[in-house]
Amino acid sequence: MERKIGVYICECGPNISEKIDIDKVIDAVSPIEDVAVVEKFKLLCSADGKKFLEEQIKKNSLTHLVVAACSPKDHEKTFMMVCENAELNPYLFQLANIREQCAWITEDKEEATKKAIRLVKAAIGRVKYHSSLEKKEIDSIPDVLVIGGGIAGMEASLQLASKQRNVYLVEKTSDLGGLVKNYEKTFLGMKPISDIIDEKTKKIDSNGNIKVFKDSEVEEAIGFFGNFEIKIKRTNEESEPVEINVGAIVLATGSALFNPDKTPEYGYGKFENVITSLEFEKMNLSGKILLKNNKTPNSVATIHCVGREERGYCSEICCMYSLKFARYLKEKLPNVKVSNFYSDLCIPGKTDQKFFNQTKEKNVGFIRSSNIKLTKKGEQLNIEYDDENKNKQNLLVDMIILSPAMVPNDDATKIAEMTGVSQDDEGFFAEEHEKLNPISTSTEGIYIVGCAKGPKNISDTIVQAEAASGNILSSLIPGKKLEPEVKTSQISESFCIGCKTCLTVCSYGAITFDETKKISVVNEVICRGCGNCVAACPSGAASIKHFKFNQLYQEIKEAVK
C-alpha cells in the first residue's frame, strides 16, 4: 500500500526551538522516501496543537505519523488519542524524543541538531514497519473468591458482596474466625473479640451473596484477571470438586506460630508449664489459668522475640499482646507477679505507648534481657538471663509464656504455586510493590491481605481487607469490559521447540505449556508485554507486537547511519 508519512516537529516553546535548528531538521528529513509532509508547530501538546495535527492527518490522508517532541512518558498517550480521533490507527505513530534526549542535554546547538536529525530519521525508519494493532476487550466476571475465613477473609467478603457480585469464601477448618477466635479480648481497648467475630459471622450468614465453603480448600485456580476457573474440594472426603468462575481472588490464608522446639534453650516441650502465647490465649478463654498440677500460678513470665533470630524479623504484635496477657493475669489472679522479658519494645502508633504505660502502672515487671536459658528447679522454672549491663541474673517463676514469631501457614507454598503468586524470602506472599501496591501481586487480579503477607495486627488486617475491596471494586466493575495489554508477545507454533526457557523468565505467569503439542503458548490477556520471553528465546520463535525485530533493526540502522 502506498505510504504517506507526516512528520511534525514541536518547538515546545523555547525548550526545543532555542536548542535545535528545526529548519535544518526539516530539510534533512523532507527528501526521505514516503515522507509526505514535514511541518513545525509552536506547541503540539496544547489544545490547538492537537487540533492542528488532526486536521493535518485528515487533509493529507496520512497513513503514518511521526512527532518529534518530548518524552513518550509525557505525551505519547496524548498523540495516540489524536490519531484515534483522526481515524488513524494509534499504533501507526512514533514519537522521537528530541527534548530530553537532544535539547536538554547539551548547550552545543549543532550537536543537538545532528542528533535530532538522527532520531527523527530513526523514528521514520521504524514507523514504516509498524502494523496497526486493535484494542481487545474481554468481558469480566464480577464475582470474587476469598481463600481463608479469618478476620481478613470475613472483612473482605462483607466489603465485596453485593447484588451484582457474589463472593465465595473458602475456609479450611470447620468454622470461621481463624486464629483470632481463640482470643478473649483485643489489646486496644480490651474489647471482647467474640462480639467482633459473632457480628461478622452473623452478617456473613445473613448475606445472600456470600457462599461459604467450610472444611474445604481450593484445588485448582487457572485463568486470568476477569476470568479465573476455580475448583473447590472438601478437605477430608473424596467428593466431586465444585467448579466456579470468578474475576478476582483474595488470599487471606493467615499465618501460624514459629515452633519453639526449634529453639531448645526455651525448653518448650521439655519442661512443664512452658506454653506458647496461643496456648495461653486458649487457657485464658476457658476461664481457668492453671499449672499442670492444677494449682494457680503466683508468678508468670512472658518471654518476647522467641524465634526472632532464626526468622530474621520482628513480628510486630507480640509486645502488644504480651501487655494484654499481663492484664488478663492481673484481672484473674489479683496478686500474681508478672514480668516480661523483652529486647526492644515495639509499640508504634498513637495508642500503643499509652496502653504500655497503663499496663506498667499495674506493677508489671519489664526486664530488658538477652541470651535467656531455662532450667527446671523443683516445681518451678528458673530463667537465667543477661541484664542490660550484661551480668547474669536469675528469676524463679511458676509459669512461662513464650511469644513466638509469626510464620507463613504450611500450605502457603502450595497455594502460591497454584495461583502463580511468588513468595518472598521469608515464605510470606510477595506484594507487587512494597510501597505503592502493598496488597496486589505481580499476577493481576490476585490480592493478598492480612498475616498471609506478613505479621500484622487486627486493625491493619481490616484496613488491608478494605484496600483489597477498594482495588477490586474500582477495576472489576459489573458489566464493564476489561482492556488487556495490546502490545503482547506471541510464540510461533511451528518454530517453538518446547525448551520452556520462556516459562522460567515470565514474571506474570502468562505462558502455559501445551503438553500434547510440546509448545509454549502465550495467554494474550495476562501478558503485559515486558519482552522477557522474547529476549530469552534462543531460536527467535517468540516475538512481541510493536517491537518486532525488523522495526527495531530499521530504527537502529537509521539512527547510526
Partner: protein
C-alpha cells in the same frame, strides 16, 4: 549475430580489467565474484565495492563453495537492489537464481549478470586438501580443448547446460583455444551493451561457434549416459533406495545448500513430521522395528518431489554430504526425467511458468481424454 567485445588480455586479466572499469566508471556500485579471502587463501564469494580489492578476485576459479544463485536470492530477497550491481555467475547458478525468482525469492532489478561458457568446477573437498592449485594447469588445458577434466564434479562432467541462456554478458571460455591471449565478451542484451560500450577494446559482431560447442556437448552426453547407467543400477526399486540412503544421518545438509530449497522451515523438520509415541507403537506392532530418528528416505523422496522440476544439477549436495551419498547424481537423473515430461529447462527463461504450480486450460482436456 551478437555484438562482442574483445580485449587482448588473457581471460583472467581481461575479466578483472573489465570489472575494474565497471567499478571505477561507477557503472556498478558492487561486483559479486569469487575471491581469495584469507591467509590460507580460502575461496569464497564476495561483494566487492572498492576496485583495489579486485586484486584478490578470481572470477573463473573452478570452485563453487556456495551456489551463487542462492546468494543472489538472499541479496535481493527483502528488497531489490537500489544501485546497479554486477554478478559473475556460472550458468547453473544463474538458472538456480531464475528458478528462485519464479518463486518470489529475489528480483533481477539493477543486476547485471555476467556468465561464461562454463568449464565445470572441482568438488569443494579439493579446496580442503589444497590440491586445487595443483590441478589448475590441467584444468585450463582441458578447458581450452573443450575436453572434460577428470577432476571435475560428476555432474559437471555430465552437464549439457554449460551455455548460459539469459546472461547480459557471456564470457567465451570453454573450447576457446587462445583464452590466455585475449578475452571475448558476447554482449547478449541491451544492458550488456550499455555496460561495455565506452570500454577501450575492439567491438565486433561475432557468432557462437555452434559446431565446436556441439562437439563438446556430445562428449558431455556420453559422460551423462555413463553416469545414469551407473546410478540406474543402484537405484532399482525400494531396496536400491534403502541401499543408497541407508547411510544418511539426516543432517539435511543437501537441502540447506540446494539453491532451490528456499523454505524457511522444511516440512521434514516441522512438528507435523514428528512421530508421537503412538506412531512408534503402531510401527513396532506392524514391522517389529524402525530406524530412529525415522523418515530418512521419506525426506529424500519428499525433497525430490518438491524441487525435482527445478533441479539445476549444480552438484552442491554431493559435496556437502558427510557420508558421500551421490545425492546430486540421483537428483539430476530424476530431475531430468520430470523436466522432460514437461519439456521444461529450469531457469532457462524467467517468464516461463513452473509446470507443476501453473495450470493451463488445455491440460485439463488431456486428462479428460
Amino acid at each position: 549475430m551478437t555484438k562482442a567485445l574483445k580485449l587482448n588480455k588473457s581471460a583472467e586479466e581481461g575479466i578483472l580489467e573489465f570489472l575494474k572499469y565497471l567499478l571505477e566508471s561507477g557503472k556498478v556500485k558492487g561486483v559479486f565474484t569469487l575471491k581469495r579471502i584469507s591467509k590460507n587463501s580460502a575461496i569464497a564469494y564476495s561483494l566487492i565495492t572498492n576496485p583495489d580489492e579486485l586484486k584478490d578476485a578470481v572470477p573463473f576459479y573452478p570452485l563453487m563453495p556456495v551456489n551463487a544463485g542462492k546468494l543472489m536470492s538472499r541479496f535481493t530477497l527483502k528488497e531489490g537492489a537500489k544501485k546497479p550491481v554486477a554478478a559473475i555467475l556460472k550458468p547453473c547458478e544463474l538458472r538456480g537464481f531464475i528458478e528462485l525468482i519464479k518463486r518470489e525469492q529475489g528480483t533481477l532489478d539493477n543486476l547485471y549478470i555476467i556468465s561464461s561458457i562454463c568449464g565445470g568446477v572441482f568438488p569443494s573437498r579439493t579446496e580442503v586438501d589444497r590440491s586445487a592449485e595443483k590441478k589448475l594447469p590441467k584444468y585450463w588445458e582441458s578447458v581450452k580443448k573443450g575436453e572434460i577434466s577428470p577432476d571435475l564434479r560428476s555432474v559437471c562432467k555430465a552437464c549439457e547446460e554449460f551455455i548460459p541462456y539469459t546472461a547480459d554478458i557471456t564470457f567465451d571460455l570453454l573450447g576457446n583455444n587462445d583464452i590466455d591471449k585475449h578475452s571475448i565478451f558476447y554482449l547478449n542484451t541491451k544492458k550488456g551493451e550499455d555496460l561495455a560500450k565506452d570500454m577501450k577494446g575492439d567491438f565486433s559482431e561475432k557468432e557462437f561457434d555452434r559446431k565446436k560447442l556441439e562437439k563438446i556437448n556430445e562428449k558431455r552426453q556420453a559422460e551423462k549416459k555413463k553416469l545414469y547407467d551407473e546410478i540406474g543400477k543402484k537405484m532399482n526399486g525400494i531396496d536400491g533406495l534403502v541401499e543408497i540412503f541407508g547411510r544418511c544421518i539426516g543432517c539435511h545438509g543437501c537441502s540447506k545448500v540446494c539453491p532451490i530449497c528456499y523454505c524457511k522451515l522444511c516440512e521434514f523438520e516441522s512438528p507435523d513430521s514428528e512421530y508421537s509415541p503412538s506412531n512408534y507403537e503402531t510401527e513396532l506392532r506392524k514391522r517389529g522395528g524402525i530406524k530412529v530418528p525415522p523418515g530418512t528416505i521419506y525426506f529424500h523422496l519428499g525433497r525430490l518431489t518438491h524441487i525435482g522440476i527445478s533441479c539445476v544439477a549444480c552438484g552442491q549436495c554431493n559435496d556437502v554430504c558427510p557420508v558421500d551419498i551421490p545425492v546430486a547424481d540421483i537428483f539430476k537423473k530424476v530431475g531430468e526425467s520430470i523436466q522432460k515430461m514437461f519439456d521444461y529447462v529450469p531457469g532457462k527463461d524467467v517468464e516461463e511458468e513452473i509446470p507443476l504450480v501453473s495450470f493451463k486450460q488445455e491440460e485439463f482436456a488431456e486428462i479428460e481424454e
